[in-house]
């Protein structure tokens, strides 16, 4: 044990150490908080060609420059699509002032989902502008895009489509997957979207 004599030296040493710990701790905490605001980069959306419900061409370049929430559906879907589209409609409404955000629903049933059918479906969910687009592409292309592009299974279509919402950033990179039928995950998506809008 240091003797009494050494104590005057100890106090500044302790003070300096406390300062180092304090500053170090602050730095680490700040870095951790910033890192949590950064969504991981999980992949990149490849090139694709589709048309939206109005017949306008829509491809990879239409995703770039905006933040997109992408899902797969079909208009005759009895089960999960109403739930998924319902959740997207909620987001569509709550982010109505966010022009940098768009919603993209891709049909996995191109034989039955005509452009008119997609337009009806869109109207049914209150879509009245270009912030939510419904895409039509040939069967083989949609399977390819789902499986190879978004890494989502596309077997036994149309009912076998994925239930995932995919968050895509303005550079066409995949930043998150969320179960579109799960309220907690949709809530998490709601919190993750601003992390990308902040970065623009």
């Amino acid at each position: 044990m240091p003797s009494d004599r050494k104590f005057p030296i100890l106090i500044p040493i302790v003070a300096v150490l406390a300062l180092i710990l304090g500053l170090g701790g602050l730095l680490v905490i700040r870095t951790a908080e910033k890192s949590r605001d950064t969504l991981p980069i999980l992949g990149s959306v490849p090139s694709f060609e589709a048309v939206n419900q109005d017949g306008t061409p829509f491809g990879l370049q239409s995703l770039q420059g905006k933040i997109s929430v992408v899902d797969f559906m079909f208009t005759n879907c009895p089960g999960i699509c109403p739930v998924m589209s319902g959740n997207l409609a909620k987001l569509y409404n709550s982010f109505s002032l966010e022009s940098r955000l768009q919603f993209v629903s891709i049909s996995v049933d191109p034989d039955r989902d005509t452009l008119a059918a997609l337009q009806d479906y869109a109207r049914g969910f209150g879509v009245n502008d270009s912030r939510w687009q419904f895409l039509w592409m040939p069967q083989a292309d949609v399977v390819n895009l789902s499986e190879n592009g978004f890494k989502l299974t596309a077997q036994d279509l149309p009912s076998g489509h994925s239930n995932r919402f995919v968050l895509v950033d303005q550079l066409g990179r995949i930043r998150g997957y969320y179960d579109g039928t799960d309220d907690d995950e949709v809530a998490k998506l709601t919190l993750d979207i601003p992390k990308l809008t902040k970065a623009i």
């Binding site: 905490i29 951790a32 910033k34 980069i41 919190l191």
Partner: protein, 311 residues
């Protein structure tokens, strides 16, 4: 044996550094930075890039900063484990016949080995609150054992220290009460933290400053007890400094620092409540509490040597 005493002291200080690091993991939210144990994402050294993850692991779990914070905690933990191992060896070597030195040293070794495994349980349980709190409590026990061994070695090297000390009447009783309340307060603190975490999870978009008002009874009790402990500590510290005789530097400095720390604790507690629980303040609040408990324990052991009498 001066080498044992010195080494045990450095090990004790290092243990408090580890408690600081553990607190840092907690407040930076890095508890699951490495979702597996003891490896991190299947590797002995954490990945530096998401592409280094094994194919079967969920890539959304990877956060470079959090993984390395958590890994640093494990590294420091292993280092302290090694230091305690050496301390135990030295204790057996030089103090084989002195049970009050080698037994706590070996006990600290056993506890730190357990602590390492328990840390793994914290991770695999996905940070189950009781296990997280237990991780802190075990750390405090280890620190206490090391303090005890170091202090007993000090008394052997300085046989007259505190032997003829005379303490004011009832000061020992007060010290015991303070120590028990201190431990109770740490437990209450963990409950305040848990309650806040639950609120944050249920209301992720509400600012923390607002949630703090919803914590409930446990927060009021924690705050009230904190103030009572602060007042009592200053009273006990004062009478020890002014009215004791023949005390060693351990007792005098201990009494002084326990007062300084408890006042810092109250200030930090106030800032936490009023400023929306900033993570940085949480860390020091937790750490200072740990040191305070250690000082109380040290004083308690010192009192056993002397005489408590009316002064």
């Amino acid at each position: 044996m001066k080498s044992f005493r010195r080494f045990a002291l450095y090990t004790t200080i290092a243990t408090y550094f580890l408690i600081f690091i553990g607190g840092l993991v907690r407040v930076s939210g890095a508890g699951l930075g490495c979702p597996d144990w003891p490896k991190c994402f299947g590797r002995w050294i954490p990945p530096t890039n998401i592409s280094q993850l094994p194919a079967d692991m969920d890539r959304t779990l990877f956060n470079f900063t959090l993984a390395w914070i958590e890994y640093f905690n494990r590294l420091v933990g292993v280092t302290i484990g090694f230091l305690i191992f050496i301390t135990a060896i030295l204790a057996i070597k030089y103090y084989r016949k002195v049970a009050r030195i080698w037994i706590p040293s070996v006990a600290a070794l056993i506890f730190v080995a357990y602590q390492g495994w328990q840390g793994g349980q914290v991770v695999t349980s996905q940070l189950q609150p009781l296990l997280v709190s237990a991780h802190l409590v075990i750390a405090l026990i280890i620190a206490g054992l090391l303090i005890y061994a170091t202090q007993q070695a000090y008394y052997i090297d300085n046989p007259s220290a505190d032997k003829n000390a005379i303490y004011p009447r009832r000061s020992k009783m007060w010290l015991t009460i303070l120590w028990i309340c201190g431990i109770l307060q740490v437990i209450l603190g963990t409950q305040v933290r848990s309650a806040l975490e639950i609120l944050e999870a249920s209301f992720p978009t509400t600012p923390v400053a607002q949630l703090v008002t919803q914590i409930g009874v446990v927060n009021y009790v924690h705050s009230l007890l904190g103030i009572l402990i602060a007042i009592s500590t200053c009273y006990v510290g004062y009478i020890i400094l002014k009215q004791s005789r023949n005390t060693s530097m351990l007792v005098r400095e201990g009494a002084r620092w326990m007062m300084i720390l408890v006042l810092a604790q109250v200030a930090l507690g106030l800032i936490l409540m009023m400023a929306g629980v900033p993570a940085f303040m949480q860390l020091f609040h937790l750490w200072i509490a740990s040191i305070y408990i250690g000082i109380l324990f040290m004083l308690f052991s010192a009192f056993k040597k002397g005489v408590v009498d009316a002064v």
